[in-house]
Structures are given as structure tokens and as C-alpha cells.
Amino acid sequence: MAESESFEEGLSTVQKILDIALRKGAEDVAVIYDEEIGRHLRFSQSKADIVNTWLYKKVAVCIGKEKRVLVVETEDLRPENLRRFVEESIDAMKYLPPRPVYAPMPEGPFDYPVVPSLYDERLLTAEDELVDAAKIAIDSALSEGAERVAGVIRSRAGYSCLATTGGVNVCARDSQIYLEVRAFADEEATGHGVTCSRSLGGIDPKRAGIEAGMDAVLAKNFTKGEPGRYDVVFGRSALGNLVGIFGHMASAMYVLMQMSPYVGKLNQKIASEEITLIDDPLKPAGYGSRAYDDEGLPTKKNTIIENGVLKTYLHNRLTAKAFNAESTANAGWIIPKPWYLILKPGDAGEEELIEELKDGLLVKNATYLRFQNYMTGDFSAVIRDGVFRVKNGEIIGEVRGLRLSDNLLNMLSNVYQISREALPIFHWWMEWEVPVETPLIAIHNVGFTSATL
């Protein structure tokens, strides 16, 4: 249970499984034990729907044997079942063909960076505080003129341990809390606000509620949007989704699978010079920060795109071998993944970005993004929660019925201005589940379509 004062259960579990796997002939093993308590309040129509509380203990194991790789995950931690689950899985490995590309677990032990402020023990027990924060967000949105408010507040706190055959034996505590609020000023006039942090005191439910409420009220004045191409300033909720995809597409596994527009583009210019995208798991209090990856390597700051040039793919030990590269400490045993994406801020004020729009759009949120073809990067997305027409630097009202329809690489190349303040964002529609820290960005000539019947 996550309230326990030590890592005793985690350490003994990972060691026990490591021993079982080695006795069965495994050569490379990594074992992760996770223990946490999660709390979650859902609300809609400005009232609570349900409070969820979760107590978890989970084990995940990656096993390498004779160039074969197996991943097992289980929540059935009864000792006899754990043993049987791991042993039977290893027995089955002999029927697998060996992989053409194989690499052992990274050889440690390692010195890990200290990433401060990733854990707040108050999130082990906070319950009334979550209800209070939800109420503040709801009341703040209503006080701005919203008719009704929906959202969630969710916290988790606990620890995880990792042991590998590379001599790694490490545990770390972490916690997270986020609040997402969506306000309605009428049937279709909506606004969205998000706040997330590693600590209970780090969220700002009032700000999230006010932003959602203000945008919802502003969106009441609307016209039907005309399809075409516009210069666009994207808000953070939209960018949480877009920047997450810009970063995730650098995973070497997606490149191998030809599921990325970055295939064959390493060291090539893929974006405007304004764009520098970093994966920084070492950022103090970063919502996605962590000190080691799932193979036990110390994490590091990786610059994915530097001044528009694609500098690296993100690797684990196996994709690194396939690309004849070094691991970037982004394991994911099967799929390497970014930890905490930060889009480097520019020097413009947020108001300046809008003031300089002669005739364009301010798009606050982009959801339901789907690719036509991952290699080309053609996609469309549903835009909502404030799609404002801007003329001569002033918001003149919302436009409705438009759909963002463009190409990922075109959009990256057409970025012309970035604001100076990057803020963390994490919400439900960030389907790649990578937290992002982003300023606002302005992009020329973005495509929009609409239903014609």
C-alpha cells in the first residue's frame, strides 16, 4: 500500500521476480513494481457524478532470452501466481523465432540525476481537498457567466521500483494531480481550462475555471465558419495535443513501422527555424519528469528538433541497435516514448500574437486528431472550446463548424511566431498521454474544412 514508509515490498518483489526469471534461463530482465493510490472526482452539470479511489500494486517484466523478447504485466501478485505467470511465459518463449536485432539490458549500476519536487505526500490522503478544488473551478467558471460546468480532478501518489540484470536496483516516489474543466455558456459555446502539477498546492483551479468560463461566454457570439486557409494562433489545450504528436512521432519504433512523417528525415529541416522541441525529463517538478527509463538508464535532456532540424529519434536499447545509435533513455520496452516535451518559448507576448493577426483564427483546443497517412502526416482534427475569428488583432466572435485539416510537416514549417511563456498542459484529449510544456504558437496558412450539408 502506498502509505507504507519504505520501498520494502517493491524491492523484495522485483528481486524475487528477477531471481525466478534468471533461474528459468532468462538472460536480460527488467522488472518494474508500481504501487499507488489514485483519486478521481468526475463532475458535470456543475455537480459531482462519482468519486473513484484506486489502490494498485502492479508488476511488469521484460525478459530477453536467446534473442527473444517477452513482456508480461500482471496485477495478480499472489506469490504462487506470480511465479507461474513468469515461468509459463518464459517456457513459451522457445517457440518464438529469434529477433534479427537484439541488445542486452544496459549495464549499470548508474548514478541517477536528482530531479526535485516530483512528490507530494499530501496526495496520498487528499480527498476533501479534491472536492474543494473542483468546487472552486466550477464556481469560478459560473462566476464568469457559464451556465454549467463539467470536468475531472484526478490525483495519484505512490512509488515504483526497477531492477534489471544490468545491476539496476532503484526506487522513486512520484505524484501528480490535474484538473480539467469545460464550461458551457449555451449548447455550443464552450471553454476549456486545465491545471496540472506534481503537488497539491501547485494547481490553480480558479484560473482553470475562469479561463473556461470566459471563453465559453466569448463563444456565444458566433457565425458559421468559412472553409479555407487562415493564419492561426493555437492555444495551449490545442498544443497539448499537437506538440505531443510532434514529439511522439520521433519514437524510433514508429519510424521503423513507417508510422511517422519523420521517416528518413533525420538531420533534415522539417520545421520552421522557430521550432526547438526538447524532451526534458530532468525539469524540476516537471509533470512528466523522471530520473530513469524502463531499462534503468539515467534519463537526459534530448533535443528532438533544433531550430527546425530533426536531431534525433527517441530510442530504447533495441531500436538503438536497429538504427546503429545510442539509447536516448526513452525506454518503453517495446515503444520508446518521450517523457516531458517542452516547446522552446520565443519572445513575443501572448497578446502580441493575437494583435499581429490581421485576419485569422485563435484556436483554443484541438481534439480527435486522426491521420489519413502517418508517413505523409495528413490529418484532420475537431476544434472546439473557443475557435475565435480575429481581425486586425481583435477577437470579433466565434466561428463554428470548421475542422482543422492539414499536414503535420506543413504546420511545423509554417510556424512564424512563439510566445515567451511555456506552461504545462495535460488533458483527456492528449491521446498520446505525454505531458507537454508549451507557449502559444502562430502558424501561417492552416487548412480548415467544414460539412457542406
Binding site: M1, R39, H40, R42, F43, S44, S46, K47, A48, I50, V51, N52, T53, L55, Y56, K57, R68, V69, L70, V71, V72, E73, T74, E75, D76, L77, S89, A92, P97, R99, E127, D128, L130, K135, R148, A150, G151, V152, E180, V181, G228, M257, Q258, M259, Q372, N373, Y374, F379, S380, A381, V382, R403, W428, G447, F448, T449, S450, A451, T452, L453
Partner: protein, 472 residues
């Protein structure tokens, strides 16, 4: 079978919650096991095995709802306490929830499994993937990402109103993501087959035949496809497209929790309102149903996760909005009985309103008859990119396999035609429905925390009169 020891624990959880002054309590032990083989270009990239098991407890206290779960069965008391405490904590802002009155019984059900997937050797499973890979490679497909997954979900559910349900469903799924690169152009297609049952399902899939046909179509599209026409015309949509549309533009907007705003912060609400029951939204030839009781389907179940007996739901009847999807909470608000749409993806998730197998009932037309009087139009057989807005009103489907129709006959392939249309316009423009009903499997995602549940999308071909193909 869930062990007697576990069943006793589930019964105990309900009794204990009532003893702690819950007005209503339910407990569910659920175990979801799955095994997956993942192959890239003929090499097994990953073999994974997942076992998720534990107990979930849901309570009502003075109209306030709490849910708690644990996978450590020694902590069941703690979980019960958490559920009660959670419900009490949100009393000051709670909705005063009521549940519909239902008849409950003791029941059990399971999917029909002739050949247990776990009894089939790993070699045979790998051979299945190899055969697809080799064929696709021969056809020139540049990258083949293939996956085979078998899973089993076992549930023991008890509530404080007399329900005791045991369910056991095995499922099998295979999919292929194919990429073809010719020169500077590329095409991608996703092929998926699946249902509930055992290894015997493989024979009915005709996966090789389907993959072979699609590989040929991808090549033809890249080499010979022409830009699609734009503007107003007649369209024929194939079962692959229609099935998804049934899910997205009838199934989701008819979910009563969306109609009442419970999903507003995530996937959104619905353009359908309670007072639209009985109103016409489509042409008379359109009837759309959702049916969890179809044996062999991905969305198969006979009792939902509130213990209510499942039945076919007729969502749209001859173009008229007929019925919404309900759980006990929304049924009480609407003054009706639940139609058993409550599902939970695993033990640690509250049961929420979900579709099962959503499809349009077939009509009488052959594909040839649907096209015979179209002078110039487009037939969209398969889709790639799609999305729909958060009210389920404005939707877009991009064709991956599509052809011109000229003088009633299929003509050249067209590249990526874009249908962007509102839901009422879509259903109103259908004037003929084919008899070629087909189902495709999929995972439907919903809610926070996210829950993915297996479903079938089903549709026959349909003919649309005077709609617009668009794009920039």
C-alpha cells in the same frame, strides 16, 4: 470459473458496504487476461502477456456515488471504506443519484469457444501471421505491422438487490497495418478481424483473401487513382464505412449519459436531446440497432455490469429516433427501464453506458442495384481518416478505397474523397439500403479514466442522394 473463495469475497464486499450504511452496493471481481503477438516485416517484435484482476466496489450513500477498487484482495475492507468515504466526500456537490428499479436474478453466460486459443501452439499462431506477411510482401507491401491477440474476460458480479451474474467471454483479434510506398507517394490501410470465440474464428475471417485484395487496391490507387470529383452527387458507401458511421453518429449520440452531459468534459455531449424521442432524423429505409446478444460478436454479453439482462436496442426505427442507450442511473432520470448498456473495461473502472454491436439493418438491394441509376457518382468502399465533433453532428470520412461510378458501373479509382456531412443530412439522404451487411471489430474509447471496450461496427452498403464531396 471464478473460485468460490473469490465469490465469497465479492458477496462479503456487498454485505460489508451495506453494513457501513450504503443505500446500495455492488461488487465485481473481474479478470482480463490477454496475450499478443506483434510482428513487423516478418519478425516477431514483441510477445506480451497481460493479466489484470481485482475487485471493484460501487456504492450509493444518500444519492452520492463512490467507486473503489483494489487488486490486493487483502485490502478489500480498505477499498469498501474508500468507496463509502468517496461518496460521502462529494455529498455537498452531489447529484442525488437514483437507480431504476429492475428485476434481478442469478445467471451465468459464456461465449462459445470450440478451440481455446491457449491450446493452439505458438508456432501455429506465428504461422498465421507469417502467412499474411509473406503474401503482403509478395504483393509489394513495403511495411507490414501485424498483430494477433486473444483475450479472456471473467466476471463475477453481485449487487444488494439480488443480482448474481457470472460471465466468461473469450475473444480473438487479428490486424494488419499495411504501408505501400511507390516513388514519393505512399498509402496505408488497416485491416482488422475479430469476435468472441476461439481459434475457430480464424477460418471465417478469410484474412489472406482480404489482405491480398487490399494490397492490390493500394497499388492500383497509387498508380492509377485520380483526384476525386467535388460538389453535389450521388454516393454509395460500403459496409466498412457505414459500420463506423453507425457507431459514431447513431450509437454515441444516443448514449443517455452523453445526452445528459456526463461526458461533456471529454468526448462531449450530443445533439440529440431527450425531447427528440419519436422525431424523424432519417429516411424511412434506415433502422439502426445495437445488440449485445449476437453470438460470436466482439461486443457480446448477456448481462451488463449492473446485472441487467441484455436485449437488442432499436435506436433508430425507420428514420425515427426510437430509444437511447441506458444504464440504471439514466433510466431512472428518463423514467424507463435500463436496457443493459452498462459495461466496464476492467475491475478498476465504474460501469458506464457503452455500445456493444451497432449496425444498420440490411435492406433488399444488391450493390449493382444501388449503383445502376447513378450517372456520375462515387463509391467509397473503405475509409482511412475520420472524426466527428463532440455533439456527434459534423463528421468527416476520408475514403481509402473509392471509385467513380459512371452510368451505373464502377469506373476508375479515386484518391481520398472526403465526405464531410452533418448527421441529419446523412441519414436523410439515404434512399436505398443494401443486403450486404458486414461487421468489423473495433475498440471503443470513452470516459475519464479511459475505458476501451470491444465492439462490432456493422453496416450494409447504402446509397446517398445529392450529397457533397469536399475538402480544401
Amino acid at each position: 470459473m471464478v473460485s468460490e473463495e473469490i465469490k465469497d469475497l465479492v458477496e462479503y464486499a456487498v454485505r460489508r458496504a451495506l453494513g457501513m450504511h450504503a443505500d446500495y452496493a455492488e461488487a465485481r471481481f473481474q479478470i482480463n487476461r490477454s496475450t499478443r503477438l506483434f510482428m513487423i516485416n516478418g519478425n516477431i517484435e514483441a510477445f506480451s502477456s497481460v493479466s489484470v484482476a481485482g475487485i471493484g466496489i460501487r456504492v450509493l450513500v444518500n444519492g452520492s456515488m463512490g467507486f473503489s477498487s483494489t487488486n490486493d484482495l487483502k485490502q478489500v475492507d480498505k477499498a469498501i471504506e474508500n468507496a463509502i468515504r468517496g461518496a460521502k466526500a462529494c455529498l455537498k456537490i452531489s447529484k442525488k443519484i437514483r437507480l431504476s428499479e429492475e428485476k434481478f436474478s442469478e445467471a451465468s453466460y459464456s461465449s462459445k469457444v470450440l478451440k481455446k486459443p491457449e491450446d493452439i501452439s505458438l508456432e501455429e499462431k506465428i504461422e498465421f501471421l507469417n502467412s499474411i506477411d509473406e503474401l503482403a510482401k509478395e504483393k509489394g507491401i513495403t511495411t507490414r505491422n501485424l498483430s494477433l491477440k486473444y483475450s479472456r474476460e471473467q466476471v463475477y458480479y453481485v449487487n444488494s438487490e439480488g443480482s448474481r451474474v457470472e460471465g466468461d467471454v473469450t475473444r480473438l483479434n487479428g490486424d494488419a497495418m499495411l504501408t505501400l510506398v511507390i516513388g514519393s507517394e505512399s498509402a496505408q490501410e488497416f485491416v482488422e478481424k475479430g469476435g468472441s470465440g476461439g481459434w475457430e474464428l480464424i477460418e471465417g475471417w478469410n484474412f489472406l483473401k482480404e489482405a491480398s485484395r487490399i494490397a492490390d487496391v493500394m497499388k492500383e490507387g497509387l498508380e492509377k487513382g485520380i483526384p476525386p470529383p467535388k460538389g453535389k452527387m450521388d454516393l454509395v458507401l460500403g459496409p466498412h464505412v457505414v459500420g463506423l458511421m453507425m457507431h459514431e453518429s447513431t450509437g454515441h449520440p444516443y448514449e443517455a449519459d452523453r445526452i445528459l452531459g456526463r461526458e461533456a468534459a471529454q468526448a462531449g455531449e450530443s445533439f440529440v436531446k431527450p425531447n427528440m424521442l419519436g422525431k424523424r432524423i432519417g429516411s424511412e429505409v434506415v433502422t439502426v440497432v445495437d445488440d449485445p446478444t449476437i453470438e460470436g460478436s466482439s461486443g457480446f454479453y448477456l448481462y451488463d455490469m449492473e446485472g441487467v439482462k441484455a436485449r437488442r436496442r432499436i435506436l433508430m426505427k425507420n428514420g425515427i429516433i426510437n430509444e437511447f442507450l441506458h444504464n440504471r442511473e439514466t433510466a431512472a432520470i428518463f423514467g424507463v427501464k435500463s436496457n443493459a448498456a452498462a459495461r466496464a473495461s476492467s475491475y478498476d473502472r465504474e460501469p458506464i453506458i457503452r455500445m456493444a454491436n451497432t449496425f444498420m439493418l440490411p435492406g433488399e438491394y444488391s450493390q449493382e442495384e444501388l449503383m445502376e441509376d447513378i450517372k456520375e457518382g462515387v463509391y467509397i468502399a473503405r475509409f482511412t481518416e475520420w472524426n466527428i465533433d463532440d455533439r456527434r453532428y459534423n463528421q468527416r470520412y476520408v475514403g481509402s478505397e473509392a471509385y467513380l461510378i459512371k452510368n451505373g458501373k464502377l469506373d476508375r479509382m479515386v484518391k481520398r474523397p472526403i465526405l464531410e456531412i452533418t448527421t441529419p443530412a446523412f441519414y436523410s439522404s439515404i434512399d436505398a439500403v443494401g443486403k450486404d451487411l458486414e461487421f468489423n471489430p473495433g475498440l471503443c474509447g470513452k470516459s475519464d479514466p479511459g475505458q476501451s471496450v470491444p465492439v462490432w461496427f456493422g453496416g450494409p452498403s447504402v446509397r446517398l442522394r445529392g450529397v457533397r464531396l469536399g475538402g480544401i
